[in-house]
Symmetry: C2
């Protein structure tokens, strides 16, 4: 029973972080489709702010012992790869 | 046993958020003592960034079910009162 509750918080933390990571990706996608180019300072500011917010959430989850540093880094790496792919696709258009 | 573990995460979340709130207060105190005045854009930018980071941590803790919205707001209100007192003390000097 005790370990089930711990797993529940752990799983919820990871699923929230992944959802927030996806939100950043979608936000950047929308920005690329509709508003501004990646060279635009607004794009960089939005991305920086959102990445900072996500990294603070991750750091908090690590300090709570809900996720490992590696799990946090894996989510960030995945997001960075997806952002790069998005950026490359944008450059080809 | 199960409820003890939940309380542990709840208490740890609150104590981390209070510690981060105190860190912001100390950072602003150091900035006032040594670097810049509250009117300076740097002061506002640092404060905005740190408050945004703290609010993201709180929001994350609320979504995890570790703290209530009221508990988060109470920590923020306390910080705002302390920052106001700091600012008023600075103005008197």
């Amino acid at each position: 029973m005790a370990s089930e509750i711990v797993v529940d918080h752990r799983e919820k933390a990871i699923s929230l972080l992944k959802a927030d990571s996806d939100k950043i990706l979608k936000l950047i996608q929308v920005q690329m489709d509709n508003l501004t180019m990646p060279q635009c300072p607004l794009y960089e500011e939005v991305l920086d702010t959102q990445m900072f917010g996500l990294s603070r959430e991750m750091d908090f989850a690590v300090r709570l012992g809900l996720i490992t540093e590696k799990e946090g880094k894996d989510i960030l790496s995945k997001l960075e790869i997806e952002l790069s792919a998005l950026y490359e696709a944008w450059e080809r258009n």
